[in-house]
């Protein structure tokens, strides 16, 4: 069995999700080969070669793969596919937009966002915003999978796998071109991999309150900042802060929900957190039914007190 894992990287650095996908690949079993594809990503390949359990790193470095646009990347992976029994990627943007394209080129039905490997062809995955967990068996001869990275621990980093430079595949698709990127990229802790998350909802009432209460509390706790869809739609925070079924899925050690009611679409993104704390002035808010610690109080009183009392 041979498994190809698409490495996640951005701005010249390997992303921590990759080591988690490698864990899923090792649970399937077989030789794990990492693909680092992009432009000027040799340093990423060196970083990737240290992940435990990786047999080889393939480096495809080409202008046509800049920005990892799905058309060129999928064509490359489809070219490599005959050598592999399974192709895996993370639940991040690059894999999410590219791997279904690969699956269709190979006439394979992808299994999205697996949370457990039951057997090499059988996986568990959430559906209905996490309210149903399906156990699915693939009947295709090859498997294409995306991995919900919060469900797998990262593989260690002590190896030094060989790096092999490969040809970058078919030339880029000129019908798709990159125009620009606006990253909200602050120096804040990254939401997807944070150990603590402080999230705010519509209960904050305004962007000013969000700025005045959520960010300082997150700073005190060295936490990432998240939000409900309502908070994003109201313009309190940028959309990449959204936690939920259609936003980011997080599973930190501590998740603090401030003024969030607890709609199923929000719970889908945070219910696997280790400890959940909810502050909401409505004692009947559904968020309390999944919170380990609930405080039914006005957040405009509770949060300043919290900020003051945390060391």
């Amino acid at each position: 069995m041979s498994i190809l894992v698409l490495a996640d990287h951005a701005a010249g650095a390997l992303q921590p999700s990759t080591a988690r996908v490698v864990t899923a690949a090792r649970q399937i079993g077989g030789d794990v080969v990492l693909l680092v594809a992009g432009q000027n990503c040799a340093a990423v390949a060196r970083e990737a070669s240290a992940i435990d359990g990786v047999a080889r790193v393939l480096l495809a470095d080409a202008d046509a793969l800049a920005h990892q646009l799905p058309e060129a990347l999928a064509a490359l992976i489809a070219e490599l596919a005959p050598d592999y029994d399974a192709i895996l990627g993370s639940s991040g943007l690059v894999a999410k937009r590219c791997l279904p394209r690969v699956a269709a080129l190979l006439d394979v039905m992808q299994v999205s966002e697996i949370i457990a490997v039951v057997a090499p062809d059988t996986f568990r995955r959430p559906t209905y915003a996490g309210n149903a967990i399906e156990t699915v068996q693939s009947t295709d001869s090859k498997r294409v999978l995306t991995v919900r990275t919060t469900a797998f621990a990262p593989a260690g980093a002590g190896a030094s796998a060989p790096i092999e430079t490969i040809s970058p595949g078919p030339s880029g698709d000129t019908r798709s071109s990159f125009v620009g990127r606006s990253s909200t990229g602050s120096d804040r802790i990254e939401l997807g991999s944070a150990r603590r998350v402080v999230s705010g909802g519509r209960g904050l009432g305004s962007r000013e309150s969000f700025d005045k209460l959520v960010y300082p509390l997150a700073d005190k706790l060295q936490a990432a900042v998240g939000a409900s869809r309502a908070a994003v739609d109201a313009g309190y925070v940028p959309s990449d802060c959204q936690v939920g079924q259609t936003g980011k899925v997080v599973a930190p050690e501590l998740y603090l929900a401030l003024g969030i009611s607890g709609a199923i679409q929000h719970l889908a993104g945070m219910q696997d957190s280790k400890v959940i704390v909810a502050i909401n002035k409505d004692p009947d808010a559904p968020i309390f039914s999944i919170a380990d610690y609930g405080l039914a109080q006005d957040l405009f009183e509770a949060v300043p007190e919290l900020i003051a009392k945390i060391g």
Binding site: M109, A129, A132, T135, R175, S177, D240, L254, I276
Partner: protein, 249 residues
């Protein structure tokens, strides 16, 4: 230019799914069903493009059982020109749906296909990408803004840490994210008018597509339940618990 929009008939977003106790899946009997919210956004975008003169006909397609015709009528009332139901009584997978849509694109022609980024029942997030691959077209996923000028679509997409803009030469597939637009309400006169718009029902065989699933769902379970938590009376008590009991701060 003709736009094709795909819509899925799903359990309404406000309803929590009920599972059958024998592990065989969701119990949808009598449940409120509606148009997948992301598909409604995709349709709204197509209608706005038509109002702006960039699109001249909107064909709306659903692959599903006969009651899915309800959301097609809704789509016609919103502003689609005609509807196609590719009849499948068994559950369908993105790969099968993408094949059916491809076949319709080839039959009827289309310069732009608009779909929702994911269906809120199976949460797969695949159909648009698969369709683009099958057609050999470029794609833009998770669209937050879409502008069409001539044969070029400029699409700003939600990314993991902000927004990314791509330019596509049409024909192309675009999938809609939540913030692309807010779908319009349907007026009574439009519901009446929609009754005269064509709704075609077609068997997958007539499109030469095989919708049989490739994944076998062995069972469907409830997620692990969280143990019931406690309510605390004050910030002090909360901090006590977080420090002493949970040891997370």
């Amino acid at each position: 230019m003709k736009a094709l929009v795909g819509v899925k008939w799903v359990l309404d977003f406000s309803v929590k799914v009920r599972l059958k106790s024998d592990g065989t899946g969701a119990d949808l009997a009598g449940a409120r069903m509606s148009m997948n919210p992301f598909d409604e956004i995709a349709l709204e975008q197509a209608i706005r493009l038509k109002e702006a003169g960039a699109v001249d006909e909107i064909v709306v397609v659903s692959v599903g059982p006969r009651p899915a015709a309800d959301i097609l009528r809704r789509a016609l009332a919103m502003g689609a020109d005609r509807a196609v139901l590719v009849r499948s009584d068994a559950p369908v997978e993105p790969l099968g749906v993408a094949k059916a849509l491809k076949s319709l694109v080839e039959r009827d022609g289309a310069g732009l296909v608009l779909l929702g980024k994911q269906a809120i029942d199976d949460d797969n997030n695949q159909t648009g990408q698969m369709l683009a691959a099958l057609l050999g077209w470029p794609q833009a996923t998770y669209a937050a803004e879409l502008a069409v000028e001539g044969n070029v679509a400029t699409v700003t997409c939600e990314s993991d840490d902000g927004l990314e803009t791509v330019r596509l030469t049409l024909p192309a597939v675009v999938t809609a994210d939540l913030r692309l637009n807010t779908p319009r309400h349907i007026s009574l006169p439009n519901i009446m008018k929609a009754k005269n718009k064509p709704l075609e029902e077609i068997a997958p065989e007539a499109l030469n597509v095989d919708l049989r699933p490739r994944l076998k769902v062995l069972r469907t379970d409830e997620p692990a339940k969280r143990r019931a938590g406690v309510m605390v009376a004050s910030v002090d008590e909360l901090l006590d618990k977080l420090r002493g009991e949970a040891k997370v701060i």
